[in-house]
Symmetry: D2
Subunit: 147 residues, 4 copies
């Protein structure tokens, strides 16, 4: 009871979001996010990258699929969730994901433009902080998504 489960990340997308439409019309998006830190080891600069599995549901998934692409810098707030699933060999495995609750695009204006011609996108997304206003029930979340 009465717990807090909060994750705050700033990092770059490793891939474009992968969007899936579940039965019932529910949209799910997911992508890997890299957060790197650098430190000194014996006088040499070492970079260590951590990869996070980001999952977004419903309205947030729709917006993410529209505005987030591989390489973009993004602030993500969400919660940790560890799921079990069976792999192809029927072995039970666990994966820990960050279920996003909102996100904000960071970075330069050029980062909010798309394509080779750098044409500004139609919608104003410069401050895409989207609150996930949908109630996310476990029935949705526990679906056997083959991520």
């Amino acid at each position: 009871m009465s717990g807090i489960n909060k994750v705050i990340l700033v990092g770059h997308l490793g891939k474009d979001p992968e969007v899936r439409h579940l039965e019932g019309g529910v949209t799910v998006a997911s992508f890997p996010l890299a957060t790197s830190e650098t430190y000194n080891k014996d006088g040499k600069r070492v970079e260590q990258t951590e990869w996070h599995n980001i999952v977004l549901w419903r309205g947030l998934a729709e917006v993410a699929s529209k505005y987030l692409q591989k390489g973009k810098l993004v602030y993500i707030e969400g919660k940790l969730r560890t799921r079990s699933f069976e792999d192809k060999e029927k072995v039970k495995k666990y994966v820990t994901e960050i279920v996003a609750e909102n996100f904000t695009m960071l970075g330069r204006k050029s980062d909010f433009e798309q394509g080779p011609s750098a044409t500004p996108i139609a919608a104003p997304v410069n401050d895409t902080k989207i609150e996930d206003e949908f109630t996310i029930g476990p029935s949705d979340e526990n679906g056997d998504l083959p991520f």
Copy 2:
């Protein structure tokens, strides 16, 4: 580069911290932490508990082993780290942990007392917010800990 990887948890310890002393005198402590949330599903109150693997290093591990016990309510701040290891059957597995950077004990005064006689512990720990002032190198962190 330039990423943020931050986790904030408030929850109860599922077990007493398990302390290990690595070669080189490095101390590591770990314990499971539960964060629960309740929500309404079809008019019924449902509680969903998430379990987190908490890992603490060096000085922070020492303090944790001293003051944290099963059942205690604690605020933990740290970062996500996913590690791979081989299980007994030599199968490669992954586990995501929260490497604690500091913690604060929450809850009632009685929670800061130990044992059946409820004698106050010697040190004043009512506000144990400990900053991990040690530099945690990856050489330590990547050690093959058999958690």
Copy 3:
């Protein structure tokens, strides 16, 4: 553009929430919250308390007025906002507040019970994490509240 303004507090209410109903039916609640930290100064334990002005709007204000009382331990998430106002002598003053976005009650079960007889309250509030699902426009927030 593209900023993050987030505050996370765990502390005790200094007073019961003060509730006000603005013209238009909008509810606002406010209370002082204390966060204390202790540290060693010349071998002596010193406690330093910081007081925060918490403001809650609409639905969140209603729930707060119902479940939060002086002395309760609470987790609050919100954003910083500095407001100017004129005091009785028409001097312009500034005050910085935390506009709450959600809160969770922490602490013992007995903390969720009310009154001298400690009768449990009707609604299950053990895990009152309330998302402020209302759109808070500046027209509301900039109202000249005589806090």
Copy 4:
């Protein structure tokens, strides 16, 4: 006792850091930071900017004065502190500041370069997440700084 007082900001510096050296060799730096959010009001895009007073002590102040400049995008973590001081007319006033505990520079590579010729700076600061490893006593913090 046992509180949490945490602020997380991502925003742009409104001015270059102002550095001061106190008696005793303690360095303090301060600057205003803007966090903006945009929202829709009657179909029109409105931007609302919040200004924060950031204060950094000792080692963190030194690094900030070296690497942060007006306009830079930065992630800042710290705590709230409200101070009282007397203005020129001997009127007691209050100001709320964010005492930084660490920061990370965000944004493009060009943001980590200085001057009109865009020559890269000498030190590797791409991932300047600096932990304030100094113990910040209130004796320092309560100094009557004429910010």
